[in-house]
């Protein structure tokens, strides 16, 4: 339906009890909801340390100084405000076939943004294909969701994927560490594991969400076919039989395992979601199982 909203009202209401989670401790100003092991200007006492010149005198434990005649500084635990950045793949491969991947990716991105908005997180959506495209930052509560939804609805697919170039641009533009959510099919002829590793190596926590359509994993067609790659237009004339299809699925699963391993070895999260799965099942099933949201 052309005028159907990106996400319906009932589903958004169900999302309000969720929170976007990350595991790493990031520095930052108070205001977040994930505790950090780094001290900061919080309310809850964390530790003492010796006073060093230049420290804030307001944090000196004056009682200890009176008793021990030494100046100790009180350290407090902080729940910092961590930037969440979502890399959304809008390349041509996302729209290949029946285009369900692109629609599903936009819905998923919208749902995660709504979860972040409800918890007053700041999320920046960064569409990408060969390079980073115009982004949209949002924060400040659920009432800011509508402009974001419109932004997602207006996105168009196109171009080929270049993860390495995108990662470089991203690291240049956003040096502050944070949670990086990548929603993509990760189908890059140049490979994506190196680029993802870059993102992790720069201190970002990765949340990798791999989308695939049914035909991406288990092709339904058989016989002799001219296969045309959506992004490059490359052609392959092959004969597809049951054996070839099984081998194809096997290779696809291996690829998905590679993506997963990149996330796991960098203390990130991974979720592989087929587009035939309902969006609510993907959020409350796959993403909760991977502890991406809770």
């Amino acid at each position: 339906m052309a005028n159907a909203p990106l996400l319906d009202r009932k589903f958004l209401e169900r999302l309000e009890r969720l929170t976007v989670h990350w595991q790493k401790s990031f520095p930052g100003l108070v205001g977040g909801h994930n505790r950090s092991r780094l001290p900061g200007g919080g309310q809850e006492f964390l530790d003492h340390r010796h006073y060093l010149q230049g420290d804030d005198l307001r944090a000196v434990n004056w009682r200890a100084y009176m008793r021990l005649d030494k100046m100790f500084l009180k350290l407090f635990q902080v729940e910092p405000r961590v930037p969440i950045r979502m890399l959304l793949d809008v390349s041509e491969s996302m729209a290949s076939g029946d285009g369900t991947k692109f629609d599903f990716a936009r819905k998923l991105a919208g749902a995660l943004c709504y979860v972040g908005l409800v918890r007053l997180d700041t999320i920046e959506v960064l569409p990408f294909a060969e390079k980073l495209l115009e982004s949209k930052a949002c924060g400040g509560g659920r009432h800011r969701f509508t402009p974001l939804a419109q932004f997602l609805e207006n996105l168009k697919s196109g171009g080929s994927t270049n993860f390495l170039k995108v990662a470089r641009e991203f690291l240049n533009d956003f040096p502050q560490r944070g949670l990086v959510i990548v929603v993509s099919d990760f189908l890059d002829e140049g490979g994506c594991d190196k680029a993802l590793q870059y993102l992790a190596d720069y201190g970002n926590e990765l949340m990798l969400i791999q989308l695939w359509s049914d035909d991406d994993r288990t092709p339904s067609w058989t016989g002799e076919c001219d296969l045309i790659e959506a992004e490059s237009g490359a052609k392959l004339h092959i004969h597809v039989d049951a054996e070839a299809r099984a081998r194809y699925t096997q290779e696809f699963d291996k690829f998905a395992a590679t993506i997963r391993s990149v996330a796991m070895r960098n203390s990130g999260r991974y979720a592989g979601i087929p587009t035939s799965m309902p969006i609510d099942e993907a959020i409350f099933g796959k993403l909760m199982q991977s502890r991406s949201v809770a």
Binding site: S93, M94, S96, G97, K101, D185, L187, E189, W212, S213, D214, D215, D216, T218, P219, S220, W221, G223, E224, C225, D226, L227, I228, E229, A230, E231, A234, L236, H237, I238, H239, V240, D241, A244, R247, Y248, T249, E251, F252, F255, S276
Partner: protein, 640 residues
Amino acid sequence: MFLNIGFGEFLAIFGAIAAVSVALYLLDRNRRKQVVSTLRFWVTPGLPSPVTRRRKIQQPISLLLQLLGMLLLLLAIAEIQFGGTARARRDHVLIIDTSAWMRAGAPGRPNATLMDLARANAISWLRAVPESDRVMLIRADALATPATNWETSHVTVARAILESAPGETAIDIGQSLEFARQLQKQAGSEGGEIVYDGPGRIATSEVDSAAVNVPILRYLQVPDVAENVGFRSVGARRSSAERDSWDVLVRVRNYGKVARAVSVTLNLSHAPVGMHPLTLAPGSEQETTFTVRTRAASLVEARIYPQDAFAADNYASLELPTQRILHVVVYTDSPDQWRPALGADPRVAAEFKRPGEYSPANDGLMILDHFRPQALPVGNTLWVDPSDRSPIGIKERVGEPSGLRWAADQALSAGLREHDLQIPTTSILETGGNDIKVAEVDRGTVVAARVSPDGKTKTIVMGFNPFSGSLKYELAAPLLLANELRWFAPDVFRDVDVTAQSAGSVTDTVNGTAADVKVITEAGTNLPFNIRDGKIQFFTGTAARVSVISSSLERVYSLTLPGMWDEKWTAPANIRRGIPAWNDAIRRSTELWPWLALLGAAVLLVEYLLYGREMSALLRVVRAHMEKAGSAAKAGDQAA
């Protein structure tokens, strides 16, 4: 056999379609294009890539299904029929009875007529006719009239059936069947049924002609009840005995099978004249006569009581014309000689005057007996022995002339054959070239007539008085006078008969030849007629008022009574009867093409679902779930 194309054409078309289909199949199946997200998993390094095969038929079942589907569709288009020409397209003729009797009420159905039953029968038969067969509807009464062309649109025929209404005449079944047979013959295609839909009530004269030899005849009999008493005819003629009187002769028939007692009433200008009770035996006719007195034009209405199911023949009306009188003024000194002759005819009003009372005014006929007026009279005049100053000059007077001869070709001398008539004295007339010589003797003309150049004034001069002396005892005298009076005023002396009878073909006796007779309708138009053996015959298909005018007689036919029948038609024994049953020969129970078309479409749909480029969503989901379950089981096995 194929109805639309020949077997060779069928093979050629199917061969071409099959060749194109196989070629397209090879091209299409081997060139299936599929846009995919990536090719990397098809050409993974270290793994053998899928085999690229030569172009050949990879899915023979798909091709066979396509060919089968197209074969079935082609068979449907070709309208294959089993059973040869017996099941070919046929032309049927439906004859629906629209005779006057169809107005009669249907037995056991108070608000329905026989026409309603006939229409229902016709529609039921039409439903049984295959759609591909052509049908022509004929409305049959005295004439068989095609109501439609050869129609394959049964809706058009059904509409014409519903628009059919009873006429005024009786049906001529023989003529209708023969007409239908000729139409089928001219159509040139496979002859179908000729269907007669009606009660089969015919005139006795049609019994032989109705047994026409029709190849396939079906009789859709409309049940009727023949208990009916009605007028056969009502006629009025001027009374010969009494001035201003009319004799009205009424003929009533009992068409039923039981004796009926009825009353026939007659009204003159809405005033009752009389009522005659009649008891009619089954199938019999009776006549009864009324006498009505009127000089003015009047309406005579006859009714039968009690009414029965067919009310159309229980009422008849006649329009009596005005009775005209010829006013004759006779200037004579011997009125007693003329009075018996002129008083014998009620249509003559004679007035006898002395010559001294002479007045030239004349509104009818003036007879001048031995009288020579100073002022010549105006209008028609009969001069009797005028001696001199006659319109036709007097040559001489002779006594006891000999050699009397009557003109043979003149109306004035009609019936006069006496040659030995003893005329005491007579004047010999000097006739001109335009004068009509009625009687001559050896010395010359003794009776002559003249018509003025404008034709308005007629004059007769008689050289002798036919009612003087011994002549008055001769038959020739009054006959001559009667001829003269009729010649002067033919309208007055022309006999008038008024008859009410049924429309259709009318046959009656007539005097004269075709040149002397006119048949004109109420609107004044001439109606074609035929005279043979002293009988005139003409035809009107609708109710009309027709006048047959001859020299001495005018008959007015008020053709307003419905044309009735005499007996029931006995249909041949070997004909088809009733609405065709489901297994009747007329139905083509193996009408295959719709089923072939459906089957062909179904086969093509199955092929599309199984092998089509775009698999249906249902099949895709089913296949995905099956593969998902298979892979889960495989993973479980590996984990174990």
